[in-house]
Chain length 108, copies 2
DNA sequence: CATATATTCAACCATAAGGTTGAATATCGG
DNA sequence: CCGATATTCAACCTTATGGTTGAATATATG
């Protein structure tokens, strides 16, 4: 299966998240994906390779075009991982924050 | 606020995720956190700085000890981000299930 | 005070990441 | 066949990352 490291790393770059967001609107060719970005087409191509290696997109070669499609499967693991920490921001968060605020007040 | 890039980047390293998991069990000093790792204490110290810069842990200096505590707040954004893609993996699952339902119907 | 402990700081090193440019490959449309 | 288009490959550069070792700083303890 896909490794959480790879998924998180792939997704940590804002350009790559933007590319995923674009593909969430529908499949697209490389140049279409590249259009909104300042960087070169080659740079976009590299980012797409990272996403592909992470299993987040899939490529269908149709003639000279490569049509990329979103494959969100690996994100399930991200969701599962972050879910483990949900209770830490829903539970007792205010008490913890207050604790450290108090400590900082005592110790400047 | 904290930036999603920083959070995702901080969390993409398995050692740092392990450190967060340790801190989910309770606050700890640097050497305690470092104990299970092969790497040097200095390397651990660096990882903790990355987590701290991302706002995922907070540090309370008590004498010569630094006591680190989990601060899961920034993970909310990760949860929110990944949630946007939930429908893409449930859709895919639905398609897969439909596929197998069809197979069973064809081949009982 | 002297020494041990906890932690960071600083310098350094190897490799990875993100970008560029230029050439190569493949396909499309006359 | 030819020229335009879509995309990758290859080489290169700069900076970031993750690790090391050794010294510095601060605090605890006999």
């Amino acid at each position: 299966m896909y490794r959480l490291d790879h998924t998180l790393n792939a997704v940590s770059h804002p350009a790559r998240r933007a590319m995923l967001a674009r593909l969430a609107e529908g499949s697209a060719r490389v140049t279409e994906i590249a259009a909104p970005f300042e960087m070169s087409l080659n740079a976009v191509s590299k980012h797409l390779k990272v996403l592909e290696a992470a299993g987040l997109i899939e490529r269908e070669k149709r003639g000279r075009d490569h049509i990329l499609a979103l494959r969100a499967g690996p994100l399930r693991q991200v969701s599962a991982w972050v879910h483990e920490y949900e209770r830490f921001w829903t539970e007792r968060l205010d008490r913890l924050e207050a604790h450290f605020r108090q400590k900082r007040k005592e110790n400047p």
